[in-house]
C-alpha cells in the first residue's frame, strides 16, 4: 500500500480531520468522542448516542460540515462470531453457497459495544474556501429498543435516511416528526435489512397463499 494509492482511491475524503475532533472535544467536553477509528483514510468518531445532535450541530456551525451525506444503519448481529451471519447456514443445515474453506482471513473484533451502528456521513461544501472538501463520519451505537435522537432538526435532509433506517433496520429515531415506513408497505411485519430476518419463505403478497 502506498500513499499515492490512497490519494487515488479516497480523494473525496480529504485529510482525516483530527483537528475538528480536537476542537469538538474542547467545546463539548472530554468524553464526547469515545473513540476515533481511522480506516483507509476515513475518520470515524464514535460519540455517545444522546450527544449526537449536539455534536452534529457543533460540526455544522463551528466546523462547517454543512452537508449531511447520509445516515446509514448497520446491523452487527453476529459480526464478530465464527459463522458471521451468512443466512442459510446454521446448526440444522448446510449452506451450499458457503464452501468449507471460505473461512475468514481474520475473525473481526466487535466493531462497537452494541448491536446497531448508525453512521452519519458529513461533508463540507459551501464553507470551503480552498477546494478542500473534507468528510467526516460520526457514529453512534444502540441496542434493540434504544432510540437515536433525530437529526432532522440539525440537518433536515436526515428525514428520508432516518425513515429508511427505521423501516429496514428497526432503529428508532426519537423526535422524528414522521417516523413511518418508507420503502416497505405500511403493514409490513419486521425489518428486512436485519441479519436475523429470513431470506426466503415470506408469504407472497396479494395472492391467496397468505
Amino acid at each position: 500500500m502506498s500513499d499515492a494509492l490512497l490519494q487515488v482511491n479516497s480523494p473525496t475524503w480529504g485529510e482525516p480531520d483530527h483537528a475538528a475532533a480536537d476542537r469538538l472535544e474542547a467545546a463539548l467536553g472530554q468524553g464526547v468522542v469515545e473513540r476515533r477509528v481511522e480506516h483507509r483514510g476515513e475518520l470515524t468518531l464514535d460519540v455517545p448516542v444522546e450527544r449526537l445532535p449536539d455534536v452534529c450541530r457543533h460540526l455544522r456551525d463551528a466546523e462547517g460540515y454543512d452537508l449531511l451525506s447520509s445516515v446509514t444503519g448497520v446491523d452487527y448481529l453476529g459480526y464478530e462470531g465464527e459463522v458471521a451471519g451468512y443466512w442459510g447456514g446454521g446448526a440444522d443445515g448446510r449452506d451450499l453457497n458457503r464452501s468449507a474453506s471460505a473461512g475468514k482471513r481474520a475473525v473481526p473484533e466487535a466493531p462497537g459495544p452494541k448491536r446497531f451502528g448508525v453512521s452519519v456521513a458529513l461533508a463540507k461544501v459551501l464553507t470551503v474556501a480552498d477546494g478542500d472538501h473534507r468528510r467526516l463520519r460520526v457514529r453512534v451505537w444502540v441496542d434493540e429498543g434504544e432510540a437515536v435522537p433525530t437529526l432532522t432538526g440539525v440537518y433536515p435532509s436526515a428525514d428520508f435516511h432516518e425513515r429508511e433506517a427505521w423501516d429496514l433496520l428497526g432503529i428508532e429515531f426519537a423526535g422524528h416528526p414522521n417516523l413511518r415506513r418508507i420503502l416497505m408497505p405500511e403493514d409490513w411485519g419486521g425489518h428486512p435489512q436485519r441479519k436475523d430476518y429470513p431470506l426466503g419463505g415470506e408469504p407472497v403478497q396479494f395472492s391467496d397463499e397468505v
Binding site: L5, V8, G14, R40, K104, V125, G131, M184, P192
Partner: protein
C-alpha cells in the same frame, strides 16, 4: 469560493415544518382536492406516487410516497460475493448505469487497497461520461415530454442509441454491461472503437446544439421554466441536494473536481458547469452544458489515453486471463477459487462517493473480513433530492409541479433500490 458570482436575491424557502419533506395544507378547507399523481403516470418517470392537495390548480400539499420498486438490492448484495454483486448495482440507477458499477468497484478497491492501472481509470472515465450523456439525454427527452414537447423525445432517444451502440461495441451489452471489475475493467477497448467514438462525438455535438436551439428559442419553453421552482443554494444544501441540481443554483461543487477529483479526473481535469438562476430553466441548462462538457472529456480521453494493462495483476482478486487457464495450474486454481468463493476483504467501513449524473453517488460498505459484504448501502442522490420537492412546489400550479419534478431528475430505481 463564493456561492454565486453576482449578488442575487433568492426567494425565502424554508424547511417545511413539522415534516422537512412534506407539505401540508394550512387550512382544512373542504374544497381542497386530494389527488394521487402516480404511481403509474408518465410524468413521474417511474413509479412515484405524489399525494397532492390542490386548491383549484394550486398545489398546497404534497407528499412523496416511494417504495414501489423496492427490490431489496442491498439485502441481496449481502448474500453475494463481491464480484457477483456487481451486476445488481447498475440496476439501481439504471440511467447512468456505469456510474453505479464504478462506484461499487471503487468502494471494494478502497477496502482492499487495490491499485487500478492507469489505462483502466481512463476507460472508466470514458464510460462514466458516456453514461452521464445517456442519462442527460433521457432527462432532456422525457423532461420535454412533460412540458408538452414530444419532438425532443424522439431526437434524444435516437441520439441515445448512438451512445448505447458504443457500449455494445465494447461490452456486448447495451445497458448494464458489467464491464467494470474490481481492479479495472473487463476487457480492453476493441479495434475500431476510437473512430466510432469520434464519429459519435461529432454527431452528438451537432445534436446538442440543435436541442439547445430548439428549446432556447422557444418562448413556451422559457415561460414554462423560467422562475419556476427556484432553489436557493443554502436551502439545497440543507436538504442534501448534490449534483447538477446544486450546480444550477450556483454552487460549483462537483466530486470530479472536489479535493482534486478521483480516478483519471485528476489527470484529465474538469471544470464544473454552473448556472446562477437556480430555477427549472437553469436545471435544464446545466445538463445541456454538462453534455457538452462530457463530450469534451470523452475527446480528451481518446486523445490522451495511456497504454498498458486494463486490470490489476493481483491474482487473489482478479480473474486470471483466459488463455492461461489452458497452461497454468495456478491460474486454474485461482480462477476456481475466485469463482466459487470469491476474495476476502479486510474488515472495516468504507465510503467512496463519485459524481453520477444525479450527484453524489457512493456505496457505504461494511466488510467483516469475509468474501461477502456485511452491509452495503447506496447513498442515492435521487432519494435525497426528492425531499426538496415539496418545498419547491409550494404554491405552484399543478402543471409546474410536473416541470419541477422533471427538472430535478429522480430515477426511481435509484430512490427505491
Amino acid at each position: 469560493m463564493a456561492a454565486t458570482e453576482a449578488p442575487k436575491t433568492w426567494p425565502k424557502l424554508e424547511v417545511l415544518r413539522p415534516v422537512p419533506s412534506e407539505l401540508h395544507p394550512e387550512t382544512d378547507n373542504p374544497d381542497l382536492l386530494e389527488i394521487n399523481l402516480g404511481p403509474n403516470h408518465p410524468s413521474t418517470h417511474g413509479v412515484l406516487r405524489l399525494v397532492t392537495t390542490l386548491d383549484g390548480e394550486i398545489v398546497v400539499g404534497l407528499k412523496c410516497e416511494i417504495g414501489y420498486v423496492h427490490t431489496g438490492i442491498e439485502k441481496n448484495i449481502e448474500q453475494k460475493t463481491y464480484w457477483k454483486a456487481i451486476p445488481y448495482v447498475p440496476r439501481m440507477d439504471y440511467l447512468s448505469f456505469f456510474s453505479g458499477e464504478t462506484a461499487f468497484c471503487m468502494a471494494v478497491e478502497k477496502a482492499l487497497e487495490l491499485e487500478v492501472p492507469r489505462r483502466a481509470e481512463w476507460i472508466r472515465v470514458l464510460f462514466q461520461e458516456l453514461a452521464r450523456l445517456h442519462s442527460h439525454l433521457i432527462f432532456l427527452g422525457t423532461g420535454s415530454v412533460d412540458l408538452g414537447g414530444i419532438a425532443l423525445l424522439f431526437y434524444c432517444f435516437r441520439a441515445r442509441d448512438e451512445v448505447l451502440d458504443l457500449f455494445e461495441m465494447v461490452t456486448g451489452q447495451r445497458m448494464h454491461p458489467r464491464y467494470c471489475q474490481v481492479g479495472g475493467v473487463a476487457e480492453d477497448l476493441p479495434r475500431g472503437f476510437e473512430p466510432k467514438c469520434r464519429e459519435m462525438i461529432a454527431f452528438m455535438r451537432d445534436q446538442v446544439d440543435q436541442y439547445d436551439e430548439l428549446i432556447a428559442a422557444n418562448p413556451i419553453w422559457s415561460q414554462r421554466t423560467k422562475g419556476i421552482g427556484v432553489l436557493p443554494p443554502d436551502f439545497a444544501l440543507q436538504m442534501g441536494m448534490t449534483g447538477p441540481n446544486l450546480r444550477a443554483s450556483g454552487v460549483p461543487y462537483d466530486l470530479r473536481t472536489a479535493n482534486g477529483g478521483y480516478g483519471a479526473y485528476r489527470e484529465i481535469g474538469y471544470t464544473p458547469v454552473t448556472e446562477q438562476a437556480g430555477d427549472t430553466h437553469a436545471r435544464f441548462r446545466v445538463r445541456i452544458e454538462e453534455m457538452r462538457a462530457s463530450l469534451d472529456v470523452i475527446e480528451k480521453v481518446l486523445d490522451g489515453i495511456p497504454e498498458g494493462p486494463v486490470i490489476a495483476d493481483d491474482r487473489k482478486v482478479v480473474l486470471p486471463p483466459r488463455h492461461e487457464l489452458h497452461t497454468s495450474m495456478e491460474s486454474l486454481i485461482h480462477h476456481f477459487k475466485l469463482v466459487t468463493e470469491g476474495f476476502t476483504v479486510p474488515a472495516g467501513e468504507v465510503y467512496a462517493p463519485i459524481e453520477s449524473a444525479r450527484g453524489e453517488f457512493g456505496f457505504h460498505m461494511v466488510s467483516d473480513g469475509g468474501p461477502k459484504p456485511w452491509r452495503v448501502r447506496l447513498r442515492s442522490p435521487s432519494l435525497v433530492l426528492l425531499q426538496s420537492l415539496a418545498a419547491l412546489c409550494q404554491g405552484v400550479y399543478l402543471a409546474d409541479l410536473i416541470a419541477i419534478l422533471a427538472s430535478i431528475d429522480p430515477v426511481l430505481g435509484d430512490v427505491d433500490r
